[in-house]
Amino acid sequence: MAKSYYDPADLRKFGKITEWSEELGTKFFDYYGKVFEEGALSAREKSLIALAVAHVVKCPYCIDAYTKDGLQKGITKEEMMEAVHAGAAIESGATLVHGVQMMNKYDKLSM
């Protein structure tokens, strides 16, 4: 067993999850591949969305993968950082909008 929870070399082995459940694994990777194809959104736009989500879900594998994917697609570092901020803004917004719940509750309980 590895001494840490995350090992960069494990990313290469992602495909192996199929070995323990072939049907679900195959379905997942087919779906995954299809999602990132050129569609109503360009593959480039989807790569930036994936990068933002990777940060929000704090997945180190995904951050490595989609930083590299962005480089491969010619995405600039400024575009990448703006995508991360878009993710961070939604994440902090999601926290702050709960402030309204807090305010409501405060008002309800106060005389």
Binding site: R12, E38, S42, A43, R44, K68, L71, Q72, K73, G74, T76
Partner: protein, 351 residues
């Protein structure tokens, strides 16, 4: 940014055997990744054999005005290997008689060869269908004596293929040196001004994109769209096609991969992206590469690894297309660079 070639720095990797040792050892020797030979054998492509010769590629010398980080030639101002007029005469003889439809001049900066113009004038007379010069662009601005190159190219209907790693200054200069981006933009504008690269122009101007780091090129068509939009909007520059070329793990790019601890990951990425349909059309199956001193190779990369063709015809002075075409192509693990994803060749993707 390096200012000298690996050779001038006495870097161990300037030795071809050192490079081959790395390419044959490590993750391949340990069995983690398959040798290229075994991989292509799975689809019946071993031994790799040439098809009809289409491209005759001549390296006019390793001298260059730039010292790019990724250069597989290890070119630079300190490289003195330059093709002589005598060797050019042998080449001209072959150009007049070859069945190839494309003549491809490369370097270094081929324009720095003192006999470059003479050779182009003579070669143009042979009336070959597609006559390519691989220009690094900045050479046009490097010295007054090169300023008229756009006009010279036009006069001989040369197809200009130029390197442009990105449409932003930062990425271009990081790979190719400070100031390269601005000079390249100026050179492209000058080529446009004489008619190169315009939508209906017969004066062909194509750009070459190499990734500026340890990653593979993205989709060639999508990249071309991005390059066209950015260069037109920002600099009013037009060109015909973009060739996305994978960096092969040899010479200075190999040195970079090792120094930045990216070598293994890069080889994994190349092997994972292996595409059997790219093997069908790898450029060594339709190209012959000639070095500055007249030796023959399966491709420009094998030339840099000093892997001469496996044929009794090894030198331009003994050239015989039929005998030469009956050979096995020499391969090693760097060949994965040409079969990754949509494939890679001097003319861009192949699959």
């Amino acid at each position: 940014m390096a200012t000298k070639s690996l050779k001038a720095r006495h870097n161990g990797l300037a030795e071809k055997n050192e490079q081959l040792k790395i390419l044959n050892g490590g993750v391949f020797e340990e069995g983690e990744l398959p040798y290229f030979k075994d991989k292509i054998a799975l689809t019946g492509h071993y031994p790799l054999r040439p098809k009809k010769l289409e491209i005759f590629q001549i390296n006019l010398g390793y001298m260059c005005n730039q010292v790019c980080e990724h250069c597989h030639v290890d070119a630079g101002p300190d490289r003195k290997e330059i093709m002589t007029r005598e060797t050019m005469q042998y080449c001209l003889e072959v150009i007049r008689n070859t069945g190839a439809h494309t003549l491809d001049l490369t370097g270094g900066a081929p324009e720095m060869n003192p006999d470059f113009r003479w050779f182009v004038e003579e070669a143009a007379k042979a009336g070959i269908q597609d006559f390519i010069v691989r220009s690094n662009l900045t050479i046009i601005r490097a010295n007054k004596k090169y300023h008229d190159l756009p006009e010279f190219f036009k006069k001989h209907n040369v197809h200009v293929v130029s390197s442009m790693p990105h449409y932003t200054r930062g990425k271009t200069d990081k790979q190719r040196g400070d100031g390269v981006f601005d000079k390249s933009i100026k050179a492209l504008q000058e080529l446009n001004a004489v008619g190169y690269g315009l939508p209906d122009s017969e004066l062909k101007l194509d750009l070459v994109y190499n990734p500026s780091g340890a990653f593979l090129p993205g989709d060639q068509v999508a990249m071309e769209k991005d390059f066209k939009k950015a260069l037109k909007e920002d600099f009013d520059i037009q060109f015909h096609h973009l060739f996305a070329i994978t960096n092969l793990p040899i010479s200075r790019f190999l040195d970079y991969l090792i120094a930045t601890d990216n070598y293994e990951d890069y080889m994994y990425a190349l092997v994972e992206a292996y595409n059997p349909s790219a093997v069908e059309n790898v450029m060594c199956t339709n190209t012959i590469s000639v070095s500055w001193d007249g030796w023959l190779y399966d491709c420009d990369f094998n030339q840099m690894l000093e892997l001469k063709v496996d044929s009794k015809i090894k030198h331009i002075k003994d050239y015989n297309e039929d005998i030469l075409n009956d050979r096995d192509i020499i391969i090693s693990q760097h060949c994965y660079g040409c079969t990754a994803g949509a494939g890679s060749s001097c003319q861009g993707t192949v699959a």
